[in-house]
Symmetry: C2
Subunit: 160 residues, 2 copies
DNA sequence: CTCCAAATGTTATAATATAACGCTTGTTAG
DNA sequence: CTAACAAGCGTTATATTATAACATTTGGAG
């Protein structure tokens, strides 16, 4: 399991590598990474924070890429369906995927102080939720797993 | 672990027992279960489904208990804070707690076909999310764990 | 009885999201 | 080449979810 987001890292490389992966995946799967979609992915990648659809729209409209809500929502829908981004239900916001290419049943750690979000790539239908589903005869199609709290940097001091 | 919601059960008893528990808990903790709050809890208990704030408001206004959104939101906020109800983030909706009195880190199984919701009472910050948090040094304060899929009754046939 | 805190009533508006429809563009079959 | 089609985009309008703010009422403590 890898959890990306809180520790320092080479962010420039993390952005450009992910863009490259997204491009090659679009080529391979016949998906179209149009200018608006590409720019929204870049905006999300620029921070390990969740951005609201209207935050995105603000950037797009400042750059002449679109002024109305559907522009942002369509791009976000595309990115989420393609697996390039995730929606954070607890925040009504969106974040770039940091585990592009891997299987996918993401869990998120959301800091209430600095708003940073880390994505933890666990395998699906395992853990407690999977146990509960099996016990109840429930067939899982999609999971929302989000924890809110304090990231290492925002804790009172003495915690690592 | 108990998961309530999909299996048939004595629903009348399940409702009245929960109301009784809520009342005694309010008495014990000096909380006020006012008419609006009590009615909202009854409405939520009446179904093992999540109801939107405006669904609730519709019932309240039909019964002369209030006509404006804040009426519903205040009652729901009270019930959630008191632990009598939970908010389902993936649906922007609310559901009565089926594990009243127990510790609390609920996980939900949400059927996309019949909209029923089961609450699984796990003792959380354990499982995958807990592992990820510990590995990252993240301090969990609240968790959102929701699975969407098909309940036993809504599966194609042959699955139990 | 008065004061205070909690709850409620009410108006207004904010924030998030989608329906619907027409235009443009890029691809493909003829 | 070009007609036909699908996907994407521009735009208007509106739906859905949620909260800010302030006046009024209620219930209990002193």
């Amino acid at each position: 399991m890898t959890t990306i987001g809180f520790e320092t890292h080479d962010h420039h490389a993390c952005v450009s590598e992910t863009m490259a992966k997204a491009e090659s995946r679009c080529a391979a799967q016949d998906l179209r990474l149009t200018p608006v979609r590409r720019r929204v992915l870049e905006l999300l990648l620029a921070e390990h924070r969740a951005l609201g659809a209207y935050d995105i729209l603000g950037h797009l409209s400042a750059e002449g890429l679109g002024t109305q809500p559907p522009v942002a929502y369509r791009a976000l829908d595309f990115l989420v369906k393609a697996g390039f981004a995730h929606r954070i239900e607890a925040l009504n916001a969106y974040i770039a995927c940091t585990h592009l290419g891997k299987d996918h049943a993401p869990a998120f750690l959301i800091c209430r102080s600095c708003q940073s979000v880390a994505e933890s790539g666990t395998a699906l239908t395992q853990g407690r939720l999977g146990d509960a589903a099996r016990a109840a005869g429930f067939q899982i199609e999609h999971t929302v797993v989000e924890a809110q709290g304090l990231c290492p940097a925002c804790q009172p001091q003495d915690a690592a």
